[in-house]
Amino acid sequence: MLKVENLNAGYGKLQVLHEVSLFFPERKISVVIGPNGSGKSTLLKTIFGLTKIYSGKIIFENNDITFLPPHKIASMGIAYLPQTNNVFENLTVEENLRMAGYNLSKEELEARLASSLEFFPQLKLYMKRKARQLSGGERQMLAIAMSLIRKPRLMMFDEPTAALAPKIAHQVLRSIVKLRDELGITIILVEQNARAALEIADKASLLVSGRVIFDGLPKDLLENPELGRMYLGVTSSQV
């Protein structure tokens, strides 16, 4: 599905990712975890063509997308929910949702709009309101609704539950599982809330200082005494 090979990338002269090689299998949830500043967001941005790539390759469904501009990558069927600034504050909720379906045909957009609003019925009350007037939680709901509008084959979520109340966070993770099971979408999930994410994951990777230090089954990561203690906040008695 998506393959990243020996990726070196960063911002200008600041290299963040070092020789990152990862594989994200089709119709699976792959979770990427790691401490703050380890380059998780940078990895997603790099896949989407938003950073500077020094060397390496990104292959999506046998197409080399390494140096494609973001709008081309979007049109290939990859969607991305950024960690911050993930809604247009000066646009209304409705305009935001319509922007999210920019590449869809008119009929398809109307249909997807309706179904993604069913997911977050609260948003229906705010359709004409500017996104900047929403609360943090509502904003995140809008951002998720936006990423649900397109029917991509691959979806990348950057800490989608970070600003949400536990109950809603759980709901969001459930919906991500539903995306995999019902729509067959391949998912890359970056999470701080590592335990909950690993519970729904098919595959797990651990990124530290821009390097992959674990890549395998979630169970193995959870049971790894050293990594578990250092990066999952798991005490050895729990393991």
């Binding site: 938003l50 709008h71 969607a79 920019y102 397109r150």
Partner: protein, 351 residues
């Protein structure tokens, strides 16, 4: 009868609105103040002059073919005035040429430079370079056009048997007399300028707020990377913004010689007022640019007129007005009129 000072204010604010609107829109996309904006609009002024020259030459040729004598020939040439088709032609061509130059400036100068990591100051200096380049091109064009007029006049003289002079200058020209309407008792521009400005404003807000393209443009301005991940070609949107903005500048410029004396360097006179209007409007709001344009026009014409007739300030000091407006805005309301909290302001005034 509208008093001349009101006419003046109407025309000047219409032209300023069109110009500051474009300057603001380009600033919102690339975050670079475009110092070439006013000179690009003067390219539009030369479009109007060229339309006039070509029309006069074909009129003269027709008159000479029908064997006009010197007296009736000059009566005919003197009575020439722009027809609706002429206005449509020079406004459309002004828009087109302006937008072409705008796209070239964005694609060939600003984008390659910023891709190589140029900062805002470097980009700003690049726009000054573009301004100087265009200024020289306009100077060359003014000379070439004059050469053309002279050679055509000589050619026509040999057909006519008397000395033909088309009465056209390519520097320090003002086309007031070709725009006069007997029925209005004044210039047609007094009607055309505000109607154009209002129509274009309505059209622009319709595009920006009611069409998918416009929403995508606003989205690309606010958050280019998010827009691009949703499938928007941000570069195309910015190109469109530059085309639109400098198209408006070219169109406004095509109207300028109908009322003001034009030279290749006239842009340097207008640039102050355009920047003042955009800065007063907050540089990040199109509505602000419109309000800024009207305010600066009012300061520069009726307010300054009052000051100069009552305090005896020389009209040479008129350029101080936009400079002062810029300085005061940046000092006291750096985010311009659009950044003011009007609700709070009104409630404070009421109290």
């Amino acid at each position: 009868m509208i008093p001349p000072i009101v006419e003046d204010t109407i025309v000047y604010s219409s032209v300023l609105i069109l110009l500051s609107l474009g300057l603001t829109l380009t600033y919102m996309t690339t975050k670079v103040p475009n110092f070439a904006h006013a000179t690009i609009s003067i390219v539009g002024s030369y479009v109007t002059l060229t339309v006039l020259v070509l029309s006069l030459i074909s009129l003269a040729r027709e008159a000479l073919i029908s064997q006009a004598d010197s007296q009736s020939f000059y009566r005919l040439i003197k009575s020439f005035s722009f027809a609706p088709l002429h206005y449509a032609l020079f406004m459309a061509l002004g828009f087109l040429l302006g937008s072409l130059i705008g796209v070239a400036q964005y694609k060939l100068v600003l984008k390659p430079l910023s891709q190589r990591g140029a900062n805002v100051v470097q980009l700003m200096i690049a726009t000054i370079a573009v301004d100087m380049f265009l200024l020289s091109m306009l100077n060359i064009y003014a000379d070439k056009l004059l050469e053309y007029v002279v050679s055509k006049a000589n050619e026509l003289s040999s057909i006519a048997g008397f000395k033909v002079n088309l009465g056209v200058q390519t520097r320090d020209f003002i086309l007031y007399s070709y725009d006069y309407s007997k029925t209005l008792g004044t210039q047609r521009l007094v009607m055309i300028a505000p109607v154009m400005a209002a129509d274009l404003l309505v059209a622009l807000s319709f595009v920006l707020y009611r069409t998918k393209l416009g929403v995508a443009l606003r989205a690309s301005i606010e958050n280019p990377s998010l827009a691009s991940t949703l499938g928007v070609n941000v570069d195309k949107m910015y190109t469109l913004a530059w085309a639109l903005s400098l198209g408006l500048a070219g169109l406004a410029g095509s109207l300028i010689p109908l009322k003001y004396l034009v030279n290749p360097s006239t842009g340097q006179l207008f640039v102050l007022s355009i920047f003042a209007a955009s800065i007063l409007g907050g540089l990040n709001s199109l509505a602000g640019a419109v309000i800024g344009g009207v305010l600066i026009a009012c300061f520069e014409i009726p307010v300054f007129n009052y000051l100069s007739s009552h305090l005896g300030i020389s009209s040479a000091y008129r350029t101080v007005i936009p400079l002062l407006a810029m300085a005061l805005t940046l000092l006291f309301i750096p985010r311009g009129v659009a950044g003011l909290n009007w609700k709070k302001l009104f409630s404070r005034v009421r109290r």
